[in-house]
């Protein structure tokens, strides 16, 4: 695949194309609406319920924070100290094999969603074929050890959830990469002069920026989890959870909307106890590969043409992977 650089410069990350309605704002509005519906459906919003909501909200935040922090620190180390040229040199020539190798590399290199996008971009600029770079982008947030440990902690006594998640996520990353060799588009290179900062500065800024924004997204996710646990009438949840495949899709869509850091999404998924394990799995597999935050990041880094293909493709493959792995393992 030849990387064609068109005359018009691709949008620079940092300067950003004109920003559409903030997806985070949309998620917050959606949740306020959900709360309003829930309150209308189940009687008054008592102070007891508010206190209970606060307890569950803080519980989810606290439980996830150590894993989130560990994830961003490691991602910062990768962003600051890992030289993409090193990876490009060891990457296999064959695109199909490269996709598989990139997916597995994601298992070793923890990448929060925030930093995996620019890292993939730098890999592509150093000669890694686009499908392999994308495969790495999709795998790193979801198959790394921190996420696996977090999932084990979130589902105590049920290690099959962590195994299923790892398999489905790797399968998704590799499948999307392979499909990209056929139907994908090249990735635009990053603008020149990006390496002005010292590795230590990149590390620090990555950690500070990624941690603070990830905590914000986690807050939205934890609030949604608390609302679903405490405020939404139980029979609504049970009715939705009983819908089989539709419940899987519902949680997949919720994952897109909530954009929780992959180190933390297992705890949100575990709190949705009324839903089937496969639906919870879908939440964990879809979230790291496509959500409102990733869509925004990818649009900024790769342009709308790439994202328009990548996002729906990732979603479809992820849901399919979750259903298949869930059917086999769970």
């Amino acid at each position: 695949m030849v990387a064609v650089h068109s005359a018009g410069a691709p949008p620079r990350a940092g300067s950003g194309p004109r920003r559409p309605v903030s997806p985070l704002g949309g998620a917050v509005v959606g949740m306020v609406a959900l709360t309003a519906f829930a309150v209308a459906g189940d009687g008054a919003l008592t102070s007891d319920r508010v206190r209970q909501w606060c307890t569950v909200f803080l519980a989810l935040m606290l439980q996830a924070l150590p894993f989130l922090v560990l994830g961003t620190v490691l991602a910062g180390l990768v962003a600051g100290y890992l030289r993409p040229s090193l990876i490009a040199r060891v990457m296999p020539r064959n695109p199909a094999v490269a996709v598989g190798a990139a997916g597995l590399a994601g298992a070793a290199l923890p990448g929060c969603e925030c930093s995996s996008v620019p890292l993939a971009r730098r890999l592509a600029a150093r000669g890694v074929p686009a499908p392999a770079a994308l495969s790495f982008l999709l795998a790193a947030p979801a198959v790394n050890p921190v996420v696996v440990v977090a999932t084990l902690v979130a589902f105590p006594g049920r290690p099959e959830m962590a195994a299923a998640r790892w398999l489905a996520a790797l399968g998704t990353a590799v499948t999307v990469g392979w499909l990209w060799t056929r139907w994908g588009r090249p990735l635009p290179p990053p603008p020149p002069g990006r390496d002005g900062d010292s590795p230590r500065q990149v590390f620090l800024h990555t950690v500070v920026d990624d941690t603070s924004t990830s905590i914000g997204y986690l807050a939205v996710g934890a609030a949604a989890g608390a609302t679903l646990s405490v405020l939404v009438p139980r029979h609504w949840i049970d009715a939705l959870a009983g819908l089989g495949l539709l419940s899987v899709l519902a949680l997949a869509l919720l994952a897109v909307l909530l954009a929780v850091c992959s180190e933390a999404d297992a705890f949100i998924a575990a709190s949705l106890r009324a839903f089937s394990p496969t639906a919870q799995l879908a939440f964990m597999v879809v979230g790291p590969v496509v959500d409102v935050k990733l869509i925004a990041l990818q649009t900024g880094a790769f342009g709308p043409a790439v994202t328009r293909r990548l996002a729906p493709l990732s979603f479809g493959v992820a849901v399919l992977a979750a259903v298949v792995v869930g059917w086999v393992l769970l």
């Binding site: 985070l24 803080l58 150590p66 560990l70 925030c114 620019p118 890292l119 620090l204 905590i215 914000g216």
Partner: protein, 246 residues
């Protein structure tokens, strides 16, 4: 720089929760070290971020950092502002552990689907000697084959509180129980027993914690589950234990 201060704030809050033990109201006891470690990292990173922000001044960043998001611009990203919400909730509301008030909405303890009890261990100790047991363990026993026999005729000592929801009980009976958590308070489930209160003890207050010595006399089926019914031979008010969850 706002991001740096945010992290410092979180470091202080999380560290405080961990050191004072209040964190057990939300997550398991074992989380103390991870929380302390996270608090330390947050403090250090946040402080470094603040210092770095100060030294850079408020100028626009000319070179791009390798991030997808545009932190080089002002204003502060929405996500960072939203991250303030948990801090505000903690400071303003100081929510307590799940308590009696939350029992209003809760069905009897539901077993996680995969926690299948294949073998009931006999209760430790000898008959006639009261044996401590958790409400959840008792719930599992009355809902598993061979379980009811393991508690028949034994005196059990349980620690729990008086639930707010006292519906469906016979006169003189009190619903007491305790929350069980697996991962954190988000999956808290209330395991309870319906206990005939000693006549001389008077009606207990909702939310009051007791150590009760109970003899199980039977079960009552609620939804799909069996809830243990018993007679309390002694009740003793206690202060809420730490952690409050089983």
């Amino acid at each position: 720089m706002v991001a740096g201060w945010l992290l410092v704030g979180f470091g202080v809050a999380v560290g405080h929760l961990a050191l004072t033990g209040t964190y057990t109201d939300y997550v398991r006891v074992a989380m103390k070290l991870p929380l302390l470690a996270a608090a330390l990292v947050l403090l250090v990173a946040g402080a470094a971020g603040v210092v770095s922000g100060v030294s850079r001044g408020s100028g626009h960043h000319d070179h791009d950092h390798d991030h997808g998001h545009d932190h080089g611009r002002r204003p502060v990203p929405t996500a960072v502002l939203l991250a303030l919400v948990p801090l505000l909730v903690l400071v303003l509301f100081r929510p307590a552990a799940l308590d009696a008030a939350a029992t209003e909405r809760v069905a009897p303890a539901a077993q996680p689907d995969t926690e299948v009890v294949t073998r009931i261990e006999p209760l430790p100790g000898r008959p006639g000697v009261p044996v401590p047991i958790t409400f959840y363990d008792l719930f599992l026993r009355v809902n598993s084959p061979g379980g009811p026999e393991s508690v028949r005729g034994r005196q059990l000592v349980l620690q729990g509180f008086v639930a707010k929801n006292q519906s469906g009980l016979a006169t003189g009976q009190v619903r007491v129980g305790r929350y069980k958590i697996w991962c954190c308070a988000a999956d808290g489930t209330f395991a309870s027993a319906e206990v005939a209160w000693p006549a001389g003890a008077g009606r207990p207050a909702v939310g009051q914690w007791f150590a009760v010595t109970v003899t199980v006399t039977g079960v009552r089926t609620v939804d799909d589950y069996a809830v243990p019914i018993g007679t309390a031979t002694s009740v003793r008010p206690i202060t809420p234990p730490e952690p409050q969850y089983e």
